[in-house]
Symmetry: C2
Subunit: 599 residues, 2 copies
Amino acid sequence: MSSSSIEALKALRLVLQHQGLAAYIIPSNDPHQSEYAPAHWKLLEWISGFTGSAGTVVITATEAQVWTDGRYFLQAEKELQDSPFQLKKQQVANAPEHIEWLAENLPAGSVVGCDGQLFSIQQVRHIEKRFEAKGIELDAQLDLLGPLWPERPALPQALVFEQDMYFAGVSRADKLRDIRVEMKQQKSAYHLVCTLEDIAWVLNLRGNDVPFNPVFVAYLIIGKSEAWLFVDSTKIPQTLYEQLQQDGVRLMPYSTIEFFCSTLSDRQSILIDPGTCSLQLYYQLDHLRIKEGEHLIRNRKALKNHAEQYHLKTAMRKDGVALVRAFRWLEAALQQEDTYPSEYDFAQKIAACRTKQADYFSESFSAIVGYNANGAIIHYRPNPEDAALIQPQGMLLVDSGGQYLDGTTDITRTIALSEPSAQQRLHFTLVLKGMIALSRAIFPQGTVGIQLDALARQHLWQHQLNYNHGTGHGVGAFLSVHEPPQGFASNLSTSRGTTALLPGHLCSNEPGCYLPGEYGIRIENLILCAAQTPEESSDFLHFETLTLFPIDVKLIDQSLLDAAEIQWLNDYHQKVFRELSPLLEGAELQWLEEKCQAI
Amino acid sequence: MSSSSIEALKALRLVLQHQGLAAYIIPSNDPHQSEYAPAHWKLLEWISGFTGSAGTVVITATEAQVWTDGRYFLQAEKELQDSPFQLKKQQVANAPEHIEWLAENLPAGSVVGCDGQLFSIQQVRHIEKRFEAKGIELDAQLDLLGPLWPERPALPQALVFEQDMYFAGVSRADKLRDIRVEMKQQKSAYHLVCTLEDIAWVLNLRGNDVPFNPVFVAYLIIGKSEAWLFVDSTKIPQTLYEQLQQDGVRLMPYSTIEFFCSTLSDRQSILIDPGTCSLQLYYQLDHLRIKEGEHLIRNRKALKNHAEQYHLKTAMRKDGVALVRAFRWLEAALQQEDTYPSEYDFAQKIAACRTKQADYFSESFSAIVGYNANGAIIHYRPNPEDAALIQPQGMLLVDSGGQYLDGTTDITRTIALSEPSAQQRLHFTLVLKGMIALSRAIFPQGTVGIQLDALARQHLWQHQLNYNHGTGHGVGAFLSVHEPPQGFASNLSTSRGTTALLPGHLCSNEPGCYLPGEYGIRIENLILCAAQTPEESSDFLHFETLTLFPIDVKLIDQSLLDAAEIQWLNDYHQKVFRELSPLLEGAELQWLEEKCQAI
């Protein structure tokens, strides 16, 4: 904790006392409910010192709590040592367990404060429902922390850039036109868009305001013939500005969104998403007819068009080549004791190999490189201080991805660094069988993620094994590597479980098996949903596997694979070799050929 | 249509005109939302002549419509010929498509009438929501048809009888005590029970008021120390009356339920199920604190206790023996051309064989015996007039079940009557693979029906085949053969899809494959959910297959089965032989032995 945040905590408690508030809640969200918040909105990190990406701070007269889930327990314990903050362990990630705690521990009649800018309407409704039953009131219009943060970082100012039509496939004007057709059907004069990925996609723009996701901080309102983009003008190059003008997109300063909303004519209809629209913005809309509706942009964005599909395949080839080089480097480094790299070194090396590929932009997330027991920690991220040294014994789990102008990648491979045990081969083969079952699935239109999720787990279940994460998430096209709504999950309350798969949906396929303290296994490819036959009328769908990198056959117990599974694996390796071999030569080519041998 | 119903239709239209109603809706439901309505409530059948079990009549000044789904199109067309009623084909069974029609065809300001006794609160809410958007009003307090039906059948008067503790396993007093513990936790003074199965189960009583389901027409209110059973006293034998008194169950005439509700003290809390409580009854509760809640009885009833499980296994042995005799009879009858039986004859024969078993009560549903193309009609029921003759060519699908005091059975077998084609064997084997996959499934606690449903379909999907029904339903213990909530369905909007399987849940497992105009295949066993290990702490569950009758191996393409599937089949046949052989001798025993040979 900085001295300013210690002062702030004291000051905040005085304000609570003065205003008669029993508690104040600080989330890790930004006003756009983004996956990665810019430093400007890292209020939670600043006040508590906890740097995990998901958590909530609750402050009362006597308590200062950081609520987070199992992914961050070790990190939080370390970061909160010697601070006035206490770690509260959540059972379930992103669950509002702190709200339960407040409801149970505050007396009826209490008032709890929070900043409505950082909460979606849906979140506030949930909190109010829970509090109401206990006679607790929520005052959601209190930004108490901002004024106490003297050295608060400014909003990010990275330049916004055009995504070339070559990559986007559909022009900004056409995308806006399509959205307006649906707005008209829904009788909406305006559509307010708060999600940064949706703004980037519909306008064919990208940015660099946060790590990993090429988005920029903005709001967008689409009207019947014009659209208003709320973004600071210094971030927009002149040629882009002119292009946007030409497409009917007017630029407004980011900070004017609330004022602009308040000036819209009375009783006009505006379509919003209560899951991402902040409460504070919602208050500015109360003279309008608010329609809470379908995710017009999100659901379109999820269906990759032909250009996006084409370029994604290019990105996959580049990614495969980069990984051939990275894994060969690792093999060489493991030859001699004095060159053993750490998990962190290897993560750096992978990024470096990707960087050399054309049109590379950034990592798509912070790579997970987990050696032996670290592989069993699902959200493990090696850091330079205490990453383990990788030695030629045991197993290594490597989950990484890149952002290319062509598309977004996300791949996990688990490799044996020495002769695997029978148990390791059993577990790896069960994971592989599930991964293949989902890859090979054919299924009728209307099938939702929870149905297919079970196909990836069935073989592990037979051995009373399971994995405590979804089987797959949607993936963006040079956008977020975690893109809703589709995917595969065993949970009825997630969109990944309940969304019907459609042709054009891009998903990860990543079952796993984790033995705490020993090792972790995960195999992940990206798969693209497509109609079963070229005819549009086909009632059945299937997946095309796009990721191109060999799977370690040393870890397979062949006696557990059936003929169809062996066929799939050999076909896959043949395809990997066919696609990557033209881009490799010499020792690298030979290395790939060996790894792609049929079993 | 009877002459009285033609008169009634005219009279009804006069009443509509007189009262300014644009339309009147008549459902096939009774006030308890039962699967089978007593004749007293068959208003729809009387007014329209349509005898299908699911439908809705809509009458306007100019239209008289019968809405029903694909199961009943042929039947309805025949029955509505030469009547003023027009068949309206529903796309989806039980969907409120007539409400859509009314919303689209009536002008704003219209009033639609119905009898609130025959609609659940949930149904009315749905209708009102749809109508509200169109400015249409629902007047749900109009029993217009009852007064027009001179020869209306009385309510059924069959005697109610005690279910022996030997079969029930838990006494009435203990069941009531358990329910009261939960009522107390939910702070409810009363629990209103409208579902006939729930009343029968919690009171260990059975009846004979409708075909197939051994229930009796009644309401039940459970209070803190007493319970009130609303059933006509002539149906209760004196000894049972005394027993009920002793257990704190007071008898009240069936017709006094509404008055009784209106006399309960103000502001007391009453727990109801909006899915089965009629609107009319709901109106009598408005001085109380109504709590719409959990299905206290339904969810307990679904978990079969040890006694119920034990007796069910006895019922399965009796059922298996009865089917051995019925199928042997069929084989003999097919030997000579002049003895070819009809589908109806065989259904009768099966029932006759079951009747000879000890403690047999009735069929558990009207048997489906579908020869060749008739097997592809999922809800086909042969009738004496036009049932097909079964000949020794092609295939036969037989789906039947019995009610025994020991339990309820439901089994489907599909047999080859001549050498099957390669396609028939392929389809049969794909269905069998799915049936085995679900039978063999091991899965973690918390797994819901929609996840396991996919396991039964995956092999058919690979061939772009599917079946247009759920994979399984819950089954009662000497109660309804279709018992909510659990089961296997690919639909997120059914309880069968979204209910977590628990140890003690009894379900059918019945994938199928139907080629319209050619043949139908279905294989059905009942399976009981159990913990994977005897320890209570086990996180994994599995199923025990209870149904005992051989599967026709002539229809199997062995090359499509893997080792585990062959093992399952051989183990199953070994178990069938082990369980049934002590009850058979001579030629019957030999017949079973042949059918249970290992492959």
